[in-house]
Amino acid sequence: MKRADFPFLGFGVGLRRPHYSHIVERRPKVDWFEVVSENFMVAGGRAIEVLEDVRAHYPIVLHGVSMSLGSTDPLNRDYLKKLRDLAKRFDPAWISDHLCWTGVGGRNLHDLLPLPYTEEALSHVVTRIRRVQDTLERPMLIENVSSYLAFADSTMTEWEFIAEIAEQADCGILLDINNIFVSAFNHRFDPNEYLDAIPVERVVQYHLAGHSDHGTHLLDTHDHPVRDEVWALYERAIRRFGAVSALVEWDDNIPEFAVLMETADRARQIYDAAARTPTEQSLDANSTERTGKPALPADHRA
């Protein structure tokens, strides 16, 4: 799997219920939408009707929260079948889920829990991603999560863990820039070191979101504007990874659609500016190309 296997979608936003009518009636100028897979694993009704309409006018990506790749429970076959059916029906540009576990013992925590970064967890997750990709008959993306605890047993860093999993499972990476920032604060690591360790060709998508500051820790709440420090980290990511589709996530205190569009536009402007001004980093050995510019498609707004 390499990034070129996937289209560059540009700058999108998450499809959320409060905006359904606005999107269907106004057809806002947005490059693409990301939809939460589980919200559409229903028999019918308004959600399906809206998704059909949205899909007829925009590219979409299916983003799941319940695959539970890190769980020691068996993979949920019924869930994977529903996901495959959803993908057949709506033809997403790709499918993603999180590098985490969401439950055990047949129970679901409805949360994204971190794994210990151990050889055991690594080979467990690699095996499961390979099985999922076989079932879905396509490569998937795994996303780094925000975390609030780390395990004493870990023998590697989070960035070593995700990079190694992506290589061994031959899957893509959805890099959540805000999650890197949040976890860097919570576990006191350097977010730049994280970015620099991620294999360039594996990164297919970014997430941009807001978090909340609780003093002792940052929480990944998706209820605030993207913070300046996260924008700065995003800019640094662009210089390293080049043309990667970006997506704005907002799940709580959801603002008017215009605010999401402004945020997606800001992501585009930062990208355009970075593409015009090559820096030292874009010339270093890890960069996509050595021409001094990130690899940009001819018309990334198509």
Binding site: A43, T72, V104, N108, A152
Partner: protein, 269 residues
């Protein structure tokens, strides 16, 4: 030796879902190393291992509380915020989520309320929760083209008697002991609500143009819908309406009911 992954996940699951918090959950863990949770989860001067696990415990509870608040506004209104919070605490112990979609977490709330002490003061709670849950299920129930007036007119008259009306696949008919439909409507419309009166009723929940609607069924209507469910013909349904409505003009009565069924998208052909 690292803790096996399965053990680690099971331990965290127990701590995160412990009803009185991670601290109490830890107290009942017998197999933890002498150094406690700190041997497994890293703590620092900002947050201890226990406090870090507690962040997840809080998120677990409040995420589900929020989801249930959204799906059960009338149940919550009747109980008040504090009692609803306590209800959810108990409910999650008895019915912890097992499904990939968080929308499924309220599936058993009505069943849980049947024998709950809160139902002594407000015995209609289980019925109101059942109605609220039904609206959630119907909202995302299967799609099908509802029977329309035009489609009905297009059917030749001689085919009517043998015609079988089929129930729309998302329609639900609830059997309740309390008149809860008015209560839910009052809450949805932001009006003052009255406790539901005792009285057996059938409530039909259906969906038209993506919107869920519900109302009590008249006796003759219920008979007709129930018969349609088991394959009755239009002629059978006419007989039932004539027999149970007590109307002087059964044809006019049937026309009145048909108009309601069309507008509520009860049937398909």
């Amino acid at each position: 030796m690292p803790t096996p992954l399965k053990e680690l996940e099971s331990l965290l699951y127990r701590l995160i879902t412990a009803p009185s918090g991670v601290g109490e959950g830890l107290a009942s863990e017998r197999n933890l190393p002498r150094t406690g949770l700190g041997a497994i989860v890293l703590g620092d001067e900002r947050l201890s291992a226990e406090e870090r696990a507690d962040i997840y415990a809080n998120m677990y509870f409040y995420r589900l509380l929020d989801a249930l608040k959204e799906d059960f506004p009338a149940t919550r209104k009747v109980l008040g915020d504090d009692a609803f919070h306590n209800l959810v605490t108990g409910y999650l112990i008895e019915y912890p989520p097992t499904q990939p979609s968080v929308a499924e977490c309220g599936r058993f709330l009505s069943r849980y309320l049947r024998d709950h002490p809160q139902s002594v003061d407000a015995p209609y709670l289980a019925d109101i929760a059942a109605l609220e849950r039904a609206t959630v299920e119907v909202f995302q129930g299967p799609d099908a083209d509802a029977l329309s007036a035009e489609a009905m007119r297009a059917i030749p008259a001689d085919q009517w008697p043998a015609l079988k009306l089929r129930l729309h696949p998302c329609v639900q008919v609830l059997d309740v002991e309390w008149r809860v439909a008015d209560l839910l409507r009052a809450v949805e419309e932001g009006r003052d609500w009255q406790p539901a009166a005792r009285g057996a009723a059938k409530i039909v929940v259906s969906r038209r143009s993506g919107r869920v609607r519900y109302r009590e069924l008249e006796q003759s209507e219920y008979r007709a819908i129930d018969a349609a469910r088991t394959g009755a013909t239009f002629a059978n349904i006419c007989d039932l309406v004539a027999e149970h409505s007590g109307a002087l003009d059964p044809v006019a009565e049937l026309n009145r009911l048909l108009a309601r069924w069309l507008s509520d998208a009860i049937f398909i052909v």
